[in-house]
């Protein structure tokens, strides 16, 4: 088998139009990136998938220089506010230092190859890159 597979199931590759998908509570609009039996906010039990905005603002970040074994450092971990939906992601295509990573900076979704397995399938990860 060849082709591509997303790093996580809430990343939809969609042939050149990659985006994240959240499960949105049909009652109160709270969003979750994995399954819930009931909404953590209002306890309703129906959800529908929604596309998350691919552009956002850097809300919180850290530059990790010391991580568990096998995790390449440095990397920029962050929370991006995508039009009201908070997303956890790395910042990519940016120098991982405090001069280049600024609170409130505009960023957009970007995908990259994680590697190809023995069957020839390429795993695709995501991050956010500076939008300007």
């Amino acid at each position: 088998m060849t082709g591509q597979i997303p790093l996580v199931d809430y990343l939809v590759l969609d042939d050149g139009d990659p985006h994240l998908v959240a499960q949105e509570c049909t009652n109160c609009s709270a969003r979750f990136f994995d399954r819930r039996n009931a909404c953590a906010s209002c306890f309703a039990s129906e959800f529908s998938p929604v596309a998350v905005a691919t552009e956002g603002t850097l809300r919180a970040f850290t530059i990790v220089t010391f991580a568990a074994p096998g995790i390449p450092t440095p990397f920029v971990a962050s929370v991006v506010d995508c039009d009201g939906t908070q997303v956890r992601a790395n910042l990519v295509n940016v120098e991982p230092d405090p001069e280049h990573v600024r609170d409130g900076m505009k960023v957009r979704l970007a995908t990259y190859s994680i590697g190809t397995d023995s069957a020839g399938t390429e795993a695709i990860g995501f991050g956010f890159e500076p939008a300007t």
Partner: protein, 403 residues
Amino acid sequence: MSASDDIWILGIRMTKFGKHPDQDTVDLAAEAATGALADAGVTMADIGVIAAGNLMAANAGIGQQLQKQIGQTGIPVYNVANACATGATALRTAIMAVKAGEVKYGLAVGVEKLSGAGLLGGGGTKKKDADVWTPRGRYGAVAPVDGRIGTEAMPGVFAQIGTEYGHKYGGTSFELFAKISEKNHAHSTLNPLAAYQKKFTLEQIMNDVMIAYPNTRPMCSANCDGAAAAVVCNGETLKSLALQQRKRAVKVSASILTTDPFEDGCQVLPNVNTLTRNAAATAYEQAGIGPSDLDLVELHDCFATAELVHYDNLMLCEKGGAADFFNTGATWRDGSTPVNVSGGLQSKGHPIAATGIANIWEICHHLRGEAGDRQIENAKVGLAHVIGLGSACGVHILEKSAA
């Protein structure tokens, strides 16, 4: 309220925090527990319930192990685990048993051995990518996500909690966070039970090994060994005791435990703010005390970035004003609201399950006027706060005895 509704700490003890290669968790828990019993003037024969925690071996039954070491009387044991709030949870469990009128005396114990655990606690081995990408788990991940989708390690999680505060309110910087650490390390030089009693200059802190910007190594909590224990009873019981016991008893004016209520984004980056604010608000109301009445505060400075946000969450300052508040010098030991005069988790150390009782020991020590060189003069009221990620928050307000 009748005296039977009041809760008192009759005895309390913490071990020296640091490296204890010759003592296991049972030895350390026993040292703290027998110390607390002696301090209270009671024995295991008096104790009606034990609540105990040892997070790293939460399934090992530390409470029963402790009984076998210091006295097996057949009383109920509640082994508790609530992340870094485990100690406060044990204390709160013992308090609830006394409050319910089921027992006269309760014993709470927290113990941890973390020396050599490494900065990330547990360390662990490299997680390998699979030979064939196969979706696994809740997110259908085909490969490990730590480091690919943000960080799961505590220094980085709490770094983001600090930078998020700056995003919301401004005024934060690497230097500001480092100054908080400078304060706590300076405070620890007066605490003989602290794991580290070393003063650092601001420059030394900022130039030390960066762990997760803006937290350098001395800005992270110090993994170490230690235990703490407390004996609690109600006011009715206290009345029957000797004057010396009544004089040294410390009133628990509020004992609160909260979890994080749902808010947008709280499942993406843990929200340590709202549950702390909720716990503090309920505690102040229960105690009939406001933040300005506090003579000292021990709060959960697991990272320098965390201490800042809790100034705000505990309402020690105006909302959004934590940076300005710190910059006035308010939280140094000679300031208006001394915070972490023990040295805090960054210097006193953070043996996880012990922390939520050890911070109460620190407050009691000052309220009893027994804190020696680091005594906050005329301390009458103090607050102890812990937070365990996941999350759980414990807040206790303590008052000096009038006896």
